[in-house]
Symmetry: C2
Subunit: 489 residues, 2 copies
């Protein structure tokens, strides 16, 4: 329970690992780097999925499903893409097992070797554009706006539950457009959708900008990134939206005939958000008692704890609990009643650890007074309300959602500093984490120097500048951009 | 369009393949045996998913996610299971690619060989029970009722879109119980849920029973099967629910401590329904014009076709169309307006091919009379209704749903015959497909003889009999069961 949880301030990393495990969100499997998402963790993912899926559909996207396997040769078709993804792939080489002749067990049948090896998708641009080639011939076929909910595999050497796992769940959007402008508009529309997921639903403030060339997606012209700040002041990239230009269209020879019967290139975007977001949710809101889940994505928004150890007036008391539950149900509030044999204290810790936004206590006093005691997970405040007034609870859930966002936003603002002097930057980042806002000359050399000296990278380019008086914090040469430097997950 | 569709009676198999392709449900990919589920096909799958998921949750199941990969040694832990699944697996042997030294492209890095090969899950009993071992220690941990939505891979030599593909999507349920009785109750509860999916939502009547030993799941004690009849009178197994006894619990050494502190074995079930169901939907309801989708799972329940070729009174006309659409929306009817540049005739064929239950035509006459013309996909009947009376449409959708079920049910009943004479069975099945209800002695020999003589298998055991006068249709020995023989997909 919460009591046995390592303090967040003591060892952030240990606190995170323990919390994921104790709150029953996920655990490691026997397959190195592959996690099991447990029911409580998966329920949070389902809530996020539902929100994203709704927003995708409202903006004209359709879901589809493409093969898990990608022929090895496909990965090579886009030059930058293969360099970025070929290193860390699970490779299928055979399609059959058989019993060993010496009776020692099951072995791979050497006769069932594939002519061409198959890669378990690390991302699906190549297989999807091989299909888009068939689907796109005329301007009438555009725009084509597809999303896929899927598992992907990137063989990782060092893994952490949710944050970096060899297999993870995500959505990947892939769209095709007749013009650059339209594709760029789509890239930015998705950024807005992701921003809404983070800010409006997960109560996580965002910093949004373009990636530097060193950090952008392998095969993209531009990558926009949703950056978030964890409570250890490190950055976590929550989602990315890529403008791919005609790179994949060209690689797979996709052209469309415009209204004037001319063959034209096709412009692409791709974008994704993964189960990694659950890691962000934990690390932005959690405390020494455990998770805090924002009401909008909480599997249970209210946990009802009936307290009647001696079962006094059992029937009437239970009836009262049911009336309260029905009232919540009628008002669309997701609740659960904890009727287990555990003590009230155990239950309080248990559900605090799991981050349920409101605990609703019903003891004999509450029953007699026809009142309810509410306890907020975000502030710990207790309130007494009339038993049949669940509009108060709805309002409190809204307030918790807002309060959680405001706390996280204040933290982000407090820990984002502007610096102009390289010595200050080095000193600051050697002592503590933070987001450093600074001028950059746009050179790979300056970017690399910061990384080598401080381990911080350019999280995103906030804006471009065109003023010769502004100097790069590293090189003192004229600055081209304002960027955020930070250490990242 | 429908006009180019091969007639169902002419070549059923060709009709099916063309329909899947022309109605934009799915197509083959470059990866042998792996399909692409296109947006329209996927939208049908999402509707089925939503229904099943709701029913699973209402009966206390929780979703979770387990790794895609299974260590090779896990498959061997349950003896019958490995025999059933080891033959047709995708095997991951390496985890990295690299550039070939001769510049010829990307090759598998021989140094990145896995110590133990990983199998892409053909089904997840083994990996899930390896986790259940950690999760189950006490009677308090039971029952454990988990469902997973996932992709699985079974390397198939001959594949057909939806019906048999190397990769497919499915849900797989895995539950653990303290007693045999409880596990068996769960097995049968799931049968009822599947029956409801098929009958109430897909308008497909079912025949339900146990599988013979030859046909049951590798590792199961009992397999219950949902059998359905296609329009070519062949059977398609729509879903299965397995009682696994303690086979997997024993194989993974899972025990629980009961209230008396005694170590007890754990009883299991598993059950699944896959994208194959979409194949059934096509083959039970489709006709020479294309698909017929039951309203409850139709992505669009109503297609609105505005017909105003010369754009007369354009603004007022379009306004009228919007009013009609808003009325449908308010009544929770899923609709789409076809505003493409195609001719009305093209649109009629296009949406008939895609099986939309109701076409709503709005021409200038309808606009003037403030009326709507409805055309039912199931019967072709046309009706004229008042423009603001969408309750008529809701009622018509219910009626279509029922009518489609009744037609399929009449067809199943008509083509299910009872036989007592082996010569009749052979003759009947040599001329035509059908479901033959007959007595069986329970022997593998009799079962095999039917299969060799007619290609029909025992689809399921309907009931057991205990009357020495009743004789097996094959051996004339005393019968033990009433079964259904049929050729199957």
């Amino acid at each position: 329970m919460g009591k046995n949880l390592t303090k967040r301030s003591e060892d952030y990393s240990k606190w995170y690992n323990e919390l994921v495990s104790k709150a029953d969100l996920a655990e490691n499997s026997a397959v190195r780097g592959c996690m099991v998402i447990k029911p409580y963790g998966y329920a949070i993912w389902e809530k996020m999925q539902a929100q994203l899926d709704k927003m995708f559909k409202e903006t004209g996207h359709e879901n589809a499903y493409f093969p898990l396997f990608i022929p090895k040769s496909y990965l090579s078709k886009e030059a930058a893409h293969v360099d970025g993804f070929a290193k860390e792939c699970a490779v299928v080489t055979h399609y059959r097992l058989k019993n060993a002749e010496d009776g020692s067990g099951v072995i791979v049948d050497p006769e069932a070797k594939l002519e061409e090896e198959l890669i378990v998708r690390p991302t699906s641009e190549t297989i999807i554009w091989s299909m888009f080639k068939k689907w796109i011939t005329s301007y009438r076929d555009l725009p084509l706006m597809i999303n896929q909910w899927a598992n992907v595999v990137r063989w990782e050497m060092r893994t952490r539950l949710f944050l970096r796992t060899s297999e993870f769940l995500w959505q990947e959007g892939h769209t095709a457009h007749a013009t650059k402008e339209e594709a760029m508009k789509e890239t930015l529309q998705i950024v807005e959708i992701y921003k809404s997921l983070f800010e409006d639903h997960l109560a996580i403030p965002t910093v949004i900008g373009r990636k530097s060339d060193a950090e952008k997606f392998a095969g993209a012209e531009e990558t926009y990134s949703i950056e978030t700040m964890m409570l250890d002041k490190k950055a976590l990239q929550g989602g990315t939206s890529h403008y791919l230009g005609t790179n994949f269209g060209d690689a797979f020879d996709v052209k469309f005939q415009n209204k004037e019967n001319k063959q034209q290139p096709v412009f692409a975007t791709s974008w994704g958000v993964s189960t990694r977001v659950i890691g962000a949710l934990i690390m932005v809101h959690g405390d020494n008692k455990g998770l805090k889940i924002p009401p909008k994505v909480a599997p249970h928004q209210v946990i009802i704890v009936p307290i009647n150890p001696k079962n006094e007036n059992e029937k009437e008391f239970n009836n009262f609990v049911d009336i309260v539950a029905n009232d919540l149900n009628k008002n669309g509030i997701r609740y659960k009643i904890d009727t287990s044999e555990n003590t009230p204290g155990f239950k309080f810790n248990f559900w605090e650890l799991r981050g349920v936004p409101i605990r609703l206590e019903i003891g004999l006093q509450e029953y007699k007074d026809q009142k309810l005691t509410l306890c907020r997970r975000d502030t710990g405040e207790k309130t007494s309300i009339k038993h049949n007034d669940s509009s108060v609870i709805t309002k409190m859930l809204d307030d918790i959602q807002l309060n959680m966002y405001n706390s996280a936003d204040a933290f982000l603002k407090k820990n984002t500093i502007e610096l102009n002097n390289y010595k200050d930057l080095k000193e600051k980042l050697s002592k503590d984490n933070c987001f450093v806002k600074a001028y950059w000359d746009g050179s790979a050399a300056s970017e690399l120097k910061v990384k080598e000296d401080t381990k911080a990278t350019i999280r995103c380019i906030l804006e471009d500048v065109d003023n010769k008086k502004l100097k790069c914090i590293v090189s003192k040469k004229p600055a081209k951009h304002i960027v955020i430097f930070a250490k990242a997950y």
